[in-house]
Structure formats: structure tokens, C-alpha cells
Subunit: 600 residues, 2 copies
């Protein structure tokens, strides 16, 4: 069994950096303790070892495809979905009364991280089912809940999110799928939805589609969009009846080839019934209340692939002899036996880069998950604060793992040289798989606009202020450790610099020059996410120092020194790149704004 | 026909920035003029439109594979190879007496660029045949020349370079393929070679392998390696006789799936005859005399893919409506019709980034090709100078297109959103194809070591001094144009900064701390190649200004303004990144050097 993650690292982050024990003191989680969570995570790891990882390559080599109106997936998927459900993966974070286990989202993230690292084709199926069930539970009628949710939690029925349409990718305001009101209070749905992950396959008896559509005559734009449950088969007293939802195809893709991406056609025969969730025209709002969680999930998936790629390339580097170390005279001795490639500085650089990205990114994903828990279940008076922290971190939590995770995997592939490009080795699969994560659930461009135009400015900059406060608390803790002071000071300096950057950008918004304000949002994202992950690394450095003093957690000295070393690497090799980015953002040339002349 | 390149850009660079006319004044090229070259390039473009581009997707979707001991390639490949040969693509740059056309290498690069942009699966077949023929012509006996070269130039026989072995990837000093001397002056070859591009297929009657091997008893390391011609079939008076060269397999790859990557086994029955080229033990030197050309070729291929990806994403951005422009109040009007995505600043940024990388990279590839011509055929007294310029630019010319080209293609894919990830669109193919270019002919790590440890220091820094001189000449020309002064000054500042960086790095070499000296060679490569391409952009800016004044070349104002705008973009969005890189190189933490502790 090749390694695809390090359970010690998950434990280090979950229990120590992000203090799971403290989360578990919240009343909602009273029945859980650290030991019971660890038992659950170990069970997920065993399941992933035994069921997910062994079919990872095969799912890519024999991809999902469409034949005779059906989506054909890997034959083992059904068993995997049922076992996932039994392990509590679908309803784990739900209320007891809804059939859930009331696990923290932080733990939910950890379980999915393990599964994603083992086989990123699979967790999307249960993750989307969970997301769809959650929407029904939060906003649906009791009848909808009773009819759909139990079968979804059990994994018998799949759930999906149907947003995208052929003419409207990122632009949800342009969706045209229409809902026609019927006398009985239901709706007839008509329209096309594409890129529907997990949209159909032979291993679930039914599919519960959560469909964004426009009630006939609704206002234009995002304020005229409603949310419907549209099942593939309508449950009736006589059993399941076809609901005129046609599977029109499966998109063939560069990666995640074991995960179906469906084209669905609703109401071709005017017989597709939809059930309104909540109130008319408020569908996008409902959908977006779940969006933080969904976007954390994308970040988690991306960073899980980076973890798997790191461990695969590390294993190769530890086993592959090649070349020789350079002697003091600048030459090499051909009579010496070849060294392992892990001894070459550039290979070590590529390994540390991967480690810095995946561990820092995983810490960020867990940080956001913790804020999600605290915003929902924390002390009443703190929830608003944690909601703002969650809101500002979400676009970064979604984007850093996708963008920097891709760079990490790229370095992992490079370590294998020509073998990295060959199908016999797994790195090329990770390289292809991770590419979608910068597109899922709002592209990097969309996330960057969200960060700069909404999150930074919301509540008059309050979220940013709170985030800076959290960072300063970490800096305080780090300043107590002489070895960390240098890095604490670096982080402090960059927080100050960020304020200067915003001080030069925000006036454009105030002047109504919004396109100018947002032109370099993508650069700001790269800049700010480097800062946020530097903060995560400083937290991890503090944790490592504390554990090395107290001995808590039984980590080896080598392990803790590895954390500290990687923190140093991140501050030395990644944080300085902010210098270039800040200079880019200070440019006053407006080169990317639309001009009269054609420049392309 | 989708666009995959802009012939105006090729003409702008070849004729104006790099002054083809001046190259053609050299005696060797007396029979050619700009018009005849343009006719040839147009013919190559027509051929690429008609034969190469139409089968590009199909070559990927039905990849090369191995069956019953044979390599099966696209059925149209044979015709393509024959037509390529007829167009002068194989022997074009060779001497008349060897069956060539005495075309400049600069023109050879331009022809291959066109073909690579149309279908990067194909030009490697003829390019390697050309490289193998060139080695025989330079160093082989008259008998070898007469026997092999004419059939190679005609495309009837393929040629390969057999360097890599399973146990020795980048480390040629460890190759073990052995040559046993025979009484008749030939050798029996025995060994395994892998990753042999174009190593076997059904469309050539014979293959001429140029094999690096160790004569029995030769010294260890690179000084004991000899070069042999080992044909698949030995030409005899009775025709072609099998030469015990077995095709053991074809590596399946993530990209370039229409281009075979062969595993060859020599002498399994002790009956594989090899013919020594030149003197024993000097094989690696011969091979490396061709290496500048080979590495320019890799750079050319990478940048051609970036060109094709740019044009594909540009076309999409010009046709796809999506979203709305931001109003002065920061909102969008949903009643407005959607705008084309090319009007969004971030899409424009991604397009300019691609344009800046591919045009700057193409200029660099042509610059190095020109130095190659001048080093071989220029005035005698200048050849040494141009050889040094070629030597120092080669690792950058190979690396920038691979590394930044990959980033360019990545941005092209992102412009298409979810469609970019789908097999129905070509971007994902470019994304997969270009990944190998950072590995071919010496990985980025190897190129970076070559640049910093050999090229920067050679002849006491003379090559660097010459390069700085060339850059300063461009700065002088730019200073005459008020609009360019700012960029000229920026380039000048960075040249100075480079000297400071080297001033802090070189003492490590002087002290014998070579591993420390070279630890960040990869960062130096990124830094220095950004500078070198900034120089190319300043040259292009000077050209554009001059042409806009003189009207020469009949370029439209929009075209020339597009060049100037992209130059500004490169200086504004890419050059500042050097600030971060220089800070990284100034670190004194030695984090990537081997330590006693395990950090991974």
C-alpha cells in the first residue's frame, strides 16, 4: 500500500493546532470525545485503504461513460457508497433527529480528506448527496424531509446540485430552466443542466436533484431564482415513477475520470415534477447558505490530491538512485555509487514545497471548518464573529488548495522525471485530477472577485479586522518562542503591508472605478492567500514548539522538527513572492481594462 | 480551421526583430532571400493546415500503442513524414553536398514552430531523424554518411537518439549499454534503452538509432561513453537484414499520445551490430555538440503549444457571452445582455499573460537560433562570441517555454471554465502535451544547474558579459523612444541587480561550498529567464515603434499597439516577480541541503 497521507499530520493539525478537544466541549458535540473521533478516523482510513485506494487507478483507466442512455461507472462503486453511508460519511454532521451523528464539520472535513487522498473520484458522490440532503433539511417542508432524506443518508439515493446550464456557466443570473406552477402546488420543470457531478449511475436506486430554476414570470437576474427538489423517480404510493429526467450524456474529462459529470434534461415530455424548497425566488440564497461548506469541500479535495502526490513522489525520491552529490571542487566522482535523489537539493526543494503547500493548505481547510462549527454551534455571542471569519476565509480556502495544490502536484510529477509523465506511475493522474479544482464551485477568478469586492469590504472591513486579530494572537504566541520570533515578525510586517495595499486599492471602489478596483483581484488573491497560509504555518510552528516542550501527543522529535523546517521553508521560499505581487498591484497602467483598440 | 498561430507574429519576429535579411547576407545563405523564405513558410503553413492540424485530436484520442511486438501509430503518419521530407523539413539546414538546402537554423526553427503549433505529435519524428543524420554527417565516416543519410533526409528511414536507460535517467554517466569490439572493426551492442522518441513504427522502412554505449572496459563516468550507429535493419548487399534490435514496448503517457516513446532492447541474441561514430569514448561530447540545437528544439515545441493554446482560448473568449461588466456602483444589471468574456479584466489578464509568454518565448527561441547560425556561419572572428551567447541562452531557451509555457496553457484552459477540462475542447490536450517539455533533453533542474554552474561561470563570466552587452544595445535603442524609456530603465536596473545576486552566490563556489552555491539554481533560472525575456520584449517594443514610424512590413496600427501593450504587460505583471525571487536567493538558511535529521 503506497502512502497517500500521513495520519500523524492529520492528528497534529486536528487535535493540536486546531484543538479538537475545545470544539468538542460545545454542547452539540457532548457525546463525542477525542478518542471516539480517532477511532472513527482510523475506521475511515482502513476503509480507504481497503476499498478506495485499490480502485483509484482503475477508475481512471476505465472511465465513466455514457451508453444507451445510461451512465456506466466502476462496478465497485455501489458497495463503496453503501459502506461510506454505514461509516456515517453522509449524515455524520447532521442533527440526531435527522438521522445524523452530530459530528463537528471539522471532523467531517478530516474524514473526507482521508477518502479524497485515497481516491478523489469517490467522495464527491456522497459529498453532494450530503449537501443536497442538508438543503432539504434546512429549507424544505417536513414532507420533503421525510420522503427524501433518510434514503439519501443511507446511500440508497444519490443527491446532486443542478446549477450550471450550457449558456450560463459562472453566471447564474442567466439560467433559463423554468418551473411552471401547477394547481396542486407542485411545478413542472423544463430545462437543461450540465456538468452535474454524480448526476446519474447504476448504483443508486434514485437521484434527488436540487435544481435552480426560474418560476414562470420571475424577475430577471439572481433575484428570480428558486430552488426545487426534482427526483429522477417520483416516490408514490405505488412506488417509484419516472419523472421525465433524461440523462443526455456524460462529459468526458481530462481528470477525475471515475466521477461522472452528467448532462441532464428535465421535462422533455412536460412531465418532470419539481417541489419548491422554501419560498419562491429565494433559491440562490438557500444555495449560498451551503456554499461556504461546499467551497471548503473543494479546497479539501484539492489539498488531499496534493497530499497524495507528495507522498507518492517522496516514496520515489527515497528509493530512486540517480546522479551523485557535488564535491567541494564542483565535480562529481563517477566511481562513487549513485545517491538517492532525495539527497539532491533541488529534489528536496520540490519536496518541501509540496509539504509546505499541502500541510499549510490542510491546516487552512481545517481552520475554516472549525470556524464553520463555531459559527453554527459556538457560544451564541461569538457566532457572528466566526461567521465573518468563515466568510472571509472561504474563497481562500477554496482557491489556495486548487492553485498552489496544482503547483505542488506539478513538482511531485517533476521529481519522477520521465516516469512522472508515464501512465505507469500515478503522478500524472493526480496532475490531471487536480486541474478541475480551480474551476469547481466558482473559478479562481470568481473567488478572487468575491474576496476583494465582498469579503474584504463587508461590514466596513470588520471581517478583515477580525482575521488580523486572529493572526496577531498567533504572533503573540510565537513571540514567546525565540526560534519563532523572526517568522512572527515577518507575518506582522506582511499584515501591515496588506493594509497599505488595500489603502491604495479601496479608493478606486470609493470613486466608482470598480473595474479598476477589481482588475487585479486575482493577484490580490495570490498575495493574500500566501499571507493566510503563512499564518497557518506560524500556528503550526507554535504547536510544534509547544509539543516538543510538553511531549504531548507522542510525536517524534524528527516529526516536529520536520514541521518547523517546513515552516521555515514556507517563510523563506513562498512569503517573499509577496514582494513581487505587491509591486504588480501598485501598477497604475490599467493594462487589462477594456480599451478601444484591439490588442490581441 | 481554428487558429493555432499568427503568421504576422512569426514574420514580425523573424524579419524585423531578428532581422532575417541580415542573416541571409552570410555567404552560406546566398541562394536564399526573404521572399523565398516566406514562400517556404507559407507552404509549411498550408501543409500544417491541411495535414497536421486536422489529425491532432485524433492522434490523442487513438494513441500510439504496442501490439504484437509492433508500435502502431496514426495511419496518416507515413504520408505526413514523406510530405515533410519533400518540403525540406529534414535536411533543410544541411549542406548542399549532403543533400540539404543550406537554410538558416533560424528558418528551420520557424518551420518547425508552425508544425509544432499545428500538431506537436509529429515534428519530433522528423526532428530526431534530422538530429541523428546531423550527428552522422558531422562525426561519422564517409561510408556511414553514404549508407544512412540520404534515406533519412528522404524520410524513408527514421532516426533516433538513444541515451536514457531504465537505471539512468538524467545521469548519463551511469549508462551500462555495452559495445563489444569485433574483429572487423564493428561492435556488438547489448543493452536496454527507454523513452526513445520515434523509436519504431510502421511508416518507416528502417530506423537508425544513435546509441550511447560503453565500449567493454571503458573508464567509468561520462568519459567512457562512445556513440554508435545501430540500425534496426543492417543494409547489406542482399538488402536489409534484421539487426537484433527488439521493440519491447511503448510507454503510455499523459500527453503527446500520438508520438511514440519506445523501449528498445539491443542484442538480446548477441547479434546487434553497431558502427562507431568518430573516436572511442568521445560519444557524449559529440552528442552534446548537437545539444544546443536539440534544446532550442524543445523550447520551440513548448512555445508552439503555448501559441496554439493562446489562439484557442482567444477564439473562445471572443465568442462566449457570460456575465456582465461591473457598473460604477459596483453592481451588475441583469437586464443587460451578457458581455463577451473577453471584456472581463481577468480574462484579458489571462490572455495577455499567454501572449506575453508565447511571443516573448518565441522571440527567445528565434534569438538562440540566430546565435546558432552566427556561431556556425557568421564572420569567423565573431563565431566564438556567438557560440558563447548561444551557450548561455540555451538552458533558458529550453526552460522558459516549458515552465512558463505550461503556465500560459494553464491560463488558456482556465478561460474556458468547465469546458476547458472537457475532452470536447482542445485546451486539455495542450495542457497534457506541454507537461513533458520540462523533462525532455534535461529537466528544468538539470538546465538550472547547467546555467548557474557552467554557463554563468564559463570563460570567467565572459558569456554573461556578452549577453549583458547585447541587452545594453537594446536598451540604447529603446532609450531613443520616449515611450520605451521606462522599460529600458527597468531592464537596466535588473541587469545590475543580477550582478549583485551573482556577487552574493559566486563566493560559495569559490569557497568550495558547491551544494550551497547551486541549491537555488532553479530559483536563479526563474529569475534570470524573466530578465532574458524582458530583454526580448524590449527588443520587440523597439521593433514595433520603428515599424510604426517607418511603416515597413505593412503591419496594422492595432497589431503594433498589441505588441507594445503586451510588452507593457510583461514589464508590469512579470518582471516585478523578480523582486520575490531575489529575496529568496538572498536567504541564508540552507533549508534544502541534506541534514542529519529526516524532515519529510
Amino acid at each position: 500500500m503506497a502512502a497517500y497521507l500521513n495520519m500523524d499530520t492529520l492528528r497534529f493539525l486536528l487535535q493540536h493546532t486546531h484543538d479538537l478537544e475545545q470544539i468538542l466541549t460545545l454542547p452539540r458535540f457532548a457525546d463525542h470525545d477525542v478518542d471516539s473521533i480517532n477511532i472513527m478516523l482510523d475506521a475511515i482510513k482502513d476503509f480507504s485503504d481497503q476499498e478506495l485506494y485499490p480502485v483509484f487507478r482503475e477508475m481512471d483507466e476505465k472511465p465513466v461513460h455514457y451508453a444507451d442512455g445510461k451512465i456506466i461507472t466502476h462496478p465497485g462503486l455501489g458497495k463503496i457508497l453503501r459502506q461510506s453511508a454505514e461509516l456515517g460519511v453522509i449524515g455524520g454532521t447532521f442533527d440526531y433527529e435527522d438521522g445524523g451523528l452530530q459530528l463537528p464539520n471539522t471532523v467531517g472535513t478530516a474524514t473526507y480528506f482521508i477518502m479524497d487522498a485515497a481516491n478523489n473520484n469517490v467522495p464527491g458522490y456522497t459529498g453532494l448527496t450530503m449537501g443536497a440532503a442538508e438543503l432539504i433539511l434546512h429549507f424544505g417542508s417536513d414532507d420533503l424531509k421525510a420522503t427524501y432524506v433518510p434514503k439519501m443518508i443511507s446511500g440508497e439515493w444519490g443527491g446532486t446540485m443542478c446549477l450550471t446550464e450550457p449558456q450560463a456557466g459562472s453566471s447564474l443570473s442567466d439560467i433559463t430552466t423554468t418551473a411552471y406552477p401547477q394547481a396542486d402546488g407542485t411545478y413542472k420543470i423544463k430545462g437543461q443542466k450540465i456538468f452535474i457531478s454524480g448526476g446519474d449511475h447504476e448504483h443508486c436506486e434514485n437521484f434527488v436533484h436540487l435544481v435552480l430554476a426560474r418560476i414562470e414570470g420571475a424577475p430577471a437576474g439572481t433575484k428570480g431564482i428558486s430552488l426545487f427538489v426534482v427526483p429522477k423517480f417520483r416516490p408514490t404510493d405505488d412506488g417509484l415513477v419516472p419523472n421525465d429526467v433524461i440523462t443526455a450524456g456524460d462529459f468526458q474529462k481530462m481528470g477525475q475520470r471515475g466521477y461522472c459529470t452528467t448532462h441532464l434534461s428535465f421535462g422533455e415530455e412536460d412531465n418532470s415534477t419539481g417541489y419548491l424548497i422554501g419560498e419562491p425566488h429565494r433559491g440562490l440564497g438557500y444555495m449560498f447558505l451551503m456554499m461556504n461548506g461546499a467551497r471548503i469541500g473543494v479546497g479539501r479535495g484539492g489539498i488531499a490530491i496534493a497530499s497524495a502526490a507528495y507522498h507518492a513522489s517522496l516514496q520515489y525520491a527515497q528509493e530512486r538512485p540517480q546522479g551523485r552529490r557535488i564535491l567541494d571542487n564542483g565535480r562529481k566522482d563517477p566511481n562513487e555509487s549513485p545517491t538517492l535523489i532525495i539527497e539532491h537539493a533541488d529534489v528536496r526543494r520540490m519536496l518541501f514545497l509540496q509539504k509546505a503547500i499541502y500541510e499549510g493548505g490542510l491546516s487552512l481547510v481545517l481552520q475554516s471548518s472549525k470556524y464553520l462549527d463555531l459559527s453554527l454551534y459556538g457560544p451564541e455571542e461569538d457566532r457572528e464573529k466566526y461567521k465573518m471569519l468563515l466568510d472571509i476565509l472561504t474563497p481562500i480556502t477554496k482557491t489556495f488548495p486548487a492553485e498552489k495544490g496544482r503547483e505542488a502536484v506539478d513538482n511531485g510529477l517533476q521529481i519522477l522525471g520521465g516516469y512522472g509523465f508515464c501512465s505507469d506511475f500515478v503522478l500524472q493522474q493526480y496532475y490531471r485530477d487536480i486541474r478541475i479544482f480551480a474551476i469547481y464551485e466558482g473559478t479562481t477568478g470568481i473567488q478572487s472577485l468575491d474576496l476583494l469586492s465582498r469579503k474584504i469590504t463587508m461590514h466596513n472591513g470588520k471581517a478583515l479586522e477580525l482575521l488580523a486579530g486572529e493572526m496577531k494572537a498567533t504572533i503573540e504566541a510565537a513571540l514567546e518562542q525565540p526560534e519563532l520570533q523572526k517568522y512572527a515578525a515577518a507575518l506582522g510586517g506582511k499584515i501591515k503591508e496588506t493594509q497599505e495595499v488595500l489603502g491604495s486599492l479601496l479608493p478606486f471602489a470609493a470613486k466608482g472605478e470598480y473595474e479598476r478596483f477589481l482588475a487585479d483581484a486575482n493577484i490580490f488573491m495570490e498575495y493574500f492567500s500566501t499571507l493566510v497560509v503563512a499564518w497557518q504555518w506560524l500556528q503550526m510552528g507554535v504547536t510544534a514548539k509547544q509539543l516538543s516542550i510538553t511531549g504531548a501527543g507522542n510525536f517524534t522529535d524528527d516529526y516536529l522538527e520536520g514541521i518547523l523546517h517546513t515552516m521555515r521553508f514556507y517563510f523563506t521560499y513562498e512569503v517573499p513572492k509577496m514582494n513581487g505581487l505587491v509591486e504588480i498591484m501598485r501598477n497604475d497602467e490599467e493594462l487589462t481594462l477594456l480599451k478601444e483598440k484591439a490588442h490581441f
